[in-house]
């Protein structure tokens, strides 16, 4: 019975999508269908934790019972190992929470039935990718996902930018699909099969020839487009800003994860290129560039959601960097950061959606002082901002610490100054992230309340509940890293590093031993932590600081301080709604000095993000050419 769970958790989403079309306008029926679909999908994924994560079972499932004959996989296989299940859990969790959020959120738009059809199609496509065991099937599901994401980007007919963003997204996204399909075709030409496990076995027997190097570069770049790695990030920013917020959650938390998943599968599993130090350097370089470029771009933004979008890619840069380090702690840190990224980024996008829902704008200049009007949203935003900036005891701290440690250990191990520099870049990026969230907080939730926003109300309860759940998960994954590592992260790390079980489960016992005889594991799946980082201490410290702030606040209010300082607007800061009389610089312009000193760099980057779709395609093809050259030289 259990082997049917993965396919059912994919199909239930698609069935839900079609049933939404059939039930049409009935709101209750639609809500019931969507809730049933996302809940069933999540429940089926959770039910797989016990056998796959804890017992180490690998579920292989052949469509139509077409098991391999004479050592060739003739059918399409679905295979769920710990890595696939890790991403599957992530996807279904984000889809479920964001789906519940959208029931109320989408009432501001027309045709919600079309919205939920596309929403479930997007979710089903992503689930199809992460659970699939067939290269061409991954391409097909990638296209389902891309189309649904493009259509959802264009969904807001009242947003004048939506069609433009969708068109750019479609053009650049189809560029990525082209790369993936061309790579798939070349791999088929070499291996005469499309099954991932068998390709992995045959490629290590045949070795890497020029055709396969080319195919690797294509597949890597193609999945990189889906992960929005650096030259492809402008479309992500456009799409996030134009799409409804609950879709932004999916695009940032789920869509990009398929790219990360694809990169892991291609470079760790199919081509096993991660063993080479040159490829590690390449991936780390791409990650660092993504991380740094996007965080500096984010500092310069004036739109809440666009800023969040750039941060999203910046965090993807963290994930790619730590995956490129190719040590056990690096992979663990990357996967941990992937789950945290989905949680805190989802939370931040949902708060942005709440602000948009309540006020109708996401322009930083037009917002302000919302903390008094929307206290819960402000608190949730603080949680998300603390998490993404890596402030203990929230989850970003744990994974970022692991990434720093991995980079530092790599530097110590290889003795190269470059990896030490990577650690520095990671820390600097984290600081800049915090800086730009200070700016967002100052200009959206604190500061002076504009007159137009006097009547703003807190968002409805049905929108707040998913946000609170995400915030609670942010705290829980930060406080209980041991539990997470034991049950979720470590099995996935083991599955990434030791894939022989995957191949055997797919192709029959002994296939891996026959084909991968002399392949050594890339690294041992064991790691220890450095430093005093027990999260319980941090939680206690956090609570103490929180208490201290509260006490100071109460003392200040009790009037004892009134003798020395007259209570006026000047002392009213940081709780929202205060006047701007005493601050010379508005929240949106908080880092004017930084911007001025880096104006050359920011100008260059601003010109590069020209908004012309030809330019984005050009950057993409140049990036592909660079990766091809790099692979041909070093692989």
């Amino acid at each position: 019975m259990i082997q049917h769970f993965p396919i059912l958790s994919i199909m239930v989403l698609f069935l839900g999508a079609f049933l939404v079309v059939l039930v049409g306008r009935s709101r209750i029926a639609r809500t019931a269908v969507v809730s049933a679909a996302v809940l069933t999908s999540f429940a089926l994924m959770v039910a797989l934790i016990k056998p796959v994560m804890i017992d180490g079972q690998i579920i292989s499932y052949w469509m139509g019972n077409w098991a391999p004959v004479s050592g060739y996989a003739i059918g399409i296989g679905i295979e769920v190992d710990a890595l696939s299940l890790f991403f599957g859990l992530l996807v279904s969790l984000a889809v479920m929470l964001s789906g519940f959020y959208s029931f109320k959120y989408i009432t501001q738009d027309d045709s919600p039935d079309l919205f939920f059809t596309l929403y479930l199609m997007l979710a089903g496509g992503v689930m199809g990718i992460v659970l699939s065991g067939d290269l061409f099937n991954i391409f097909v599901m990638l296209e389902v996902m891309t189309f649904a994401a493009v259509a959802l980007t264009a969904f807001r007919s009242w947003n004048p930018n939506a069609r433009e963003a969708a068109f750019k997204y479609l053009v650049v996204g189809s560029l990525g699909s082209t790369f993936v399909l061309l790579g798939t075709a070349l791999v088929y030409g070499q291996c005469h099969t499309l099954n991932l496990a068998q390709i992995s076995g045959l490629l290590s027997v045949n070795g890497i020839n020029p055709t396969m190097t080319f195919a690797f570069a294509l597949l890597f770049t193609g999945f990189g487009v889906k992960a929005f790695m650096t030259p492809f990030h402008p479309i992500a920013a456009d799409a996030h800003a134009a799409a409804p917020s609950s879709v932004s959650v999916l695009i940032s938390g789920v869509f990009t994860k398929t790219g990360v998943y694809g990169i892991i599968r291609v470079s760790y599993f199919l081509f096993k290129s991660m063993g080479m130090s040159s490829m590690q350097t390449g991936l780390v370089f791409i990650g660092c560039v993504s991380m740094f470029v996007c965080v500096t771009m984010a500092l310069n933004q004036h739109d809440f959601k666009r800023l969040l979008a750039f941060h999203s890619i910046s965090q993807i840069g963290y994930i790619l960097t730590s995956l490129g380090l190719c040590s056990a702690i690096g992979i663990a840190g990357g996967l941990y950061h992937a789950i945290n990224h989905t949680l805190f980024k989802g939370l931040l996008f949902l708060t942005a959606g709440a602000v948009l829902y309540a006020t109708g704008t996401t322009k930083l200049e037009k917002l302000g002082g919302l903390a008094r009007r929307m206290p819960q949203t402000a608190a949730l935003f603080m949680v998300g901002a603390f998490s993404i900036s890596g402030i203990p005891p929230f989850n970003g701290f744990v994974s970022k610490w692991m990434i720093y440690q991995a980079a530092y250990e790599k530097a110590a191990e290889t003795g190269s100054i470059g990896y030490a520099f990577v650690t520095v870049i990671a820390v600097v990026t984290s600081v800049l992230t915090l800086a730009s969230f200070v700016k967002v907080g100052q200009s959206v939730f604190f500061g002076e309340l504009p007159v137009e926003l006097e009547n703003v109300k807190e968002t409805p309860l049905s929108m707040r509940i998913p946000m609170w759940i995400m915030a609670a998960l942010c705290l829980l994954t930060g406080v209980l890293p041991g539990l997470m590592q034991q049950y979720i992260i470590n099995p996935a790390v083991r599955a990434t590093l030791d894939y022989k079980g995957y191949i055997d489960a797919m192709m029959g016992e002994g296939y891996a031993a026959a084909h991968l005889a002399d392949t050594v594991p890339l690294a041992e799946a064991k790691y220890t932590f450095a430093g005093a980082w027990d999260p319980a201490f941090w939680l206690v410290l956090f609570v103490i600081v929180l208490l201290g702030v509260t006490v100071a606040m109460m003392i200040g209010k009790s009037g004892r301080g009134a003798a020395t300082a007259i209570a006026d607007d000047k002392h009213d800061t940081f709780f929202g709604g205060e006047k701007n009389t005493f601050s010379q610089v508005g929240g949106g312009d908080l880092f004017w000095g930084f911007k001025y000193n880096f104006r050359r760099y920011l100008n260059v980057m601003g010109n590069a993000h020209s908004g012309v779709v030809n330019d984005y395609v050009t950057w993409g093809v140049i990036d592909l050419a660079l990766i091809i050259v790099y692979c041909f030289i070093f692989m």
Partner: protein
């Protein structure tokens, strides 16, 4: 024989990339995406081609001893890929219609509200 097809497919792909990179008319960009699709379909079918093979259909009356088929798998993949290409074109053209309505131009260098 097949080498010509392979190289032709690569050239088609490069042509498509060139069109997408340089042409400012968004309809031409969509045409470039179409050219890329044709290149992809050509290379997939060519990978499956087999000198002297016949269509992979078991028509009993026409089969002769010693006959063999071309590879049917890439043909099936091509069918899927053609439909996907048609869907890309349909979607992109609908977006072009809307963009023309909203911006009054098809020039991609004027469709750039989102930048920086």
């Amino acid at each position: 024989m097949m080498l010509v097809n392979y190289i032709g497919a690569v050239l088609l792909l490069a042509t498509g990339f060139y069109v997408m990179m340089t042409k400012e008319n968004i309809i031409k960009i969509v045409i470039g995406m179409g050219i890329i699709d044709y290149g992809l379909n050509l290379i997939i079918v060519s990978i499956g081609f087999n000198e002297g093979g016949t269509a992979p259909i078991f028509t009993m009356s026409e089969l002769k001893p010693g006959m063999y088929f071309v590879d049917p798998v890439p043909q099936a993949l091509t069918l899927t890929s053609i439909v996907i290409g048609a869907c890309v074109t349909a979607m992109a053209l609908t977006l072009c219609i809307k963009l023309y309505e909203e911006y009054g131009t098809l020039n991609s260098s004027h469709i750039r509200r989102l930048r920086g």
